[in-house]
């Protein structure tokens, strides 16, 4: 009888340690705050060049994440990238003349989309397109231009 109790207490302890560890993995390590999908709405934007933007990249206003990139497709007519974004449904007051630009976190960091707010009284709704966009700044191109500029400068003298 006593032996049986030890067995059951041991197994109970084992199970509880496992559950605590799972909760730690989910909350502390994965940073999971919501398991159920949140309500979101979709916006699209077309960019001339998205650099290395990927699916699930952040969409931020003033540096605060408000959504993520859902899909990236190519516009076959104009050869621009169509980026579909999922925005948190609570953030429903983005002015219709807002601008989206692709930025980089730090020098080597990931690309993300930063939304600069406009001044219009009308707000973006589900399925709307952000008209004004600024494409990604590609560091290699900048360096290339800079080097080319230096060469032409010294060549001119």
């Amino acid at each position: 009888m006593r032996n049986k109790k030890i067995v059951e207490v041991g197994v109970g302890f084992f199970m509880i340690v496992g559950l605590i560890a799972f909760a730690l993995l989910a909350l502390q390590v994965s940073g999971l705050t919501h398991i159920t999908p949140q309500k979101t709405y979709e916006l699209t934007a077309q960019f001339g060049d998205i650099g290395s933007l990927k699916r699930r990249a952040a969409v931020a206003v003033a540096g605060v994440q408000i959504g993520q990139v859902k899909a990236i497709t190519l516009n076959k007519e104009y050869y621009t990238a169509i980026v579909t974004m999922e925005i948190d449904a609570n953030i429903n007051n983005l002015p219709i003349d807002s601008a989206a630009s692709i930025k980089t976190r730090g020098i080597l960091g990931d690309n993300y989309i930063s939304i600069a707010l406009g001044f219009d009284d009308a707000f973006l709704r589900d399925g709307d397109e952000i008209e004004e966009t600024y494409q990604a700044l590609i560091l290699e191109d900048l360096i290339g231009q800079f080097v080319a500029g230096q060469i032409s400068k010294t060549g001119g003298e």
């Binding site: 041991g10 197994v11 994965s30």
Partner: protein, 260 residues
């Protein structure tokens, strides 16, 4: 010439037959009307001997592996001034690969071999045949609870392993070597995805749990009923399950993380 071809064919056929036998063995142990009350009691007892007794080795090795990862990761990353990525590196390594695989290897050595030896000895002392004489199906009474216990225990042990190892590397990286605490946890949280990393790691350990306990109970059941035969069966359990874990790990990784 024909002889060697025949021998080759015979070997292939007998491997297939063994796999078939082992599959049938597992199915006949698990399928059928479950006896809920008795089954639960037996399961708890097996969970104790399979899971709880493996806890110590999992926790201790998790702690040390985490500490070593923290130390090595720091000394590599600090050259690039990227020691703030230590948390990301350690947690992704552990959740995706090291946690499930090392926990499974330890589990095969600690619990798998014990299962084989126990069942093999039951066979050698004719306890299995006496059960059959009494009209109790040894597959259902002996094999099934052990299989389920291993299947349930390994994912839990792998989760505990990962958590302990992450805290081990936190101890070394943050408390000892002075990586910023905010960067350690913050970068980890930003990089680890619950579905893609954590859940995929758990799926891996579920697969490993099934494979290890399957091999262990099968080897015990078909062991030669002599002391030498039991020894050989125990060795086979550890070798076969370690190879199966490493091979399956590659396959699962290719399926889960192969496409970028």
């Amino acid at each position: 010439m024909i002889r060697s071809l025949q021998r080759f064919g015979h070997a292939g056929l007998s491997v297939c037959a063994k796999f078939g036998w082992a599959g049938l063995f597992l199915v006949s142990a698990l399928v059928g009307r479950p006896n809920v009350v008795l089954g639960f009691k037996l399961l708890v007892k097996q969970l104790y001997s399979v899971g709880v007794f493996s806890l110590i080795i999992i926790v201790v090795s998790g702690l040390f592996i985490g500490m070593v990862l923290g130390l090595q990761g720091y000394s590599i990353l600090v050259d690039f001034g990227a020691e703030s990525a230590l948390g990301t590196m350690v947690s992704l390594t552990l959740l995706r690969e090291l946690g499930p695989v090392v926990a499974a290897l330890l589990f095969a050595g600690r619990a798998g071999s014990a299962l084989t030896a126990e069942i093999g000895l039951m066979k050698a002392t004719e306890q299995l045949s006496s059960l059959e004489m009494m009209g109790v199906d040894p597959l259902r009474r002996i094999i099934a609870p052990r299989f389920w216990a291993g299947q349930i225990s390994l994912p839990i042990l792998a989760i505990i392993f990962s958590v302990v190892a992450i805290y081990g590397s936190y101890m070394v990286g943050v408390q000892w070597l002075g990586v910023s605490e905010g960067a350690f946890w913050g970068n980890m949280r930003a990089a680890v995805d619950f579905r893609e990393d954590t859940l995929n790691g758990i799926i891996k350990s579920v697969v490993f749990g099934a494979v290890i306990t399957w091999i262990a109970v099968y080897q015990g059941y078909v062991a030669e009923p002599t002391s030498e035969g039991i020894g050989r069966a125990t060795t086979r359990t550890v070798v076969h399950s370690s190879l199966a874990i490493l091979g399956l790990d590659f396959l699962l990784t290719a399926v889960m993380f192969g496409e970028v």
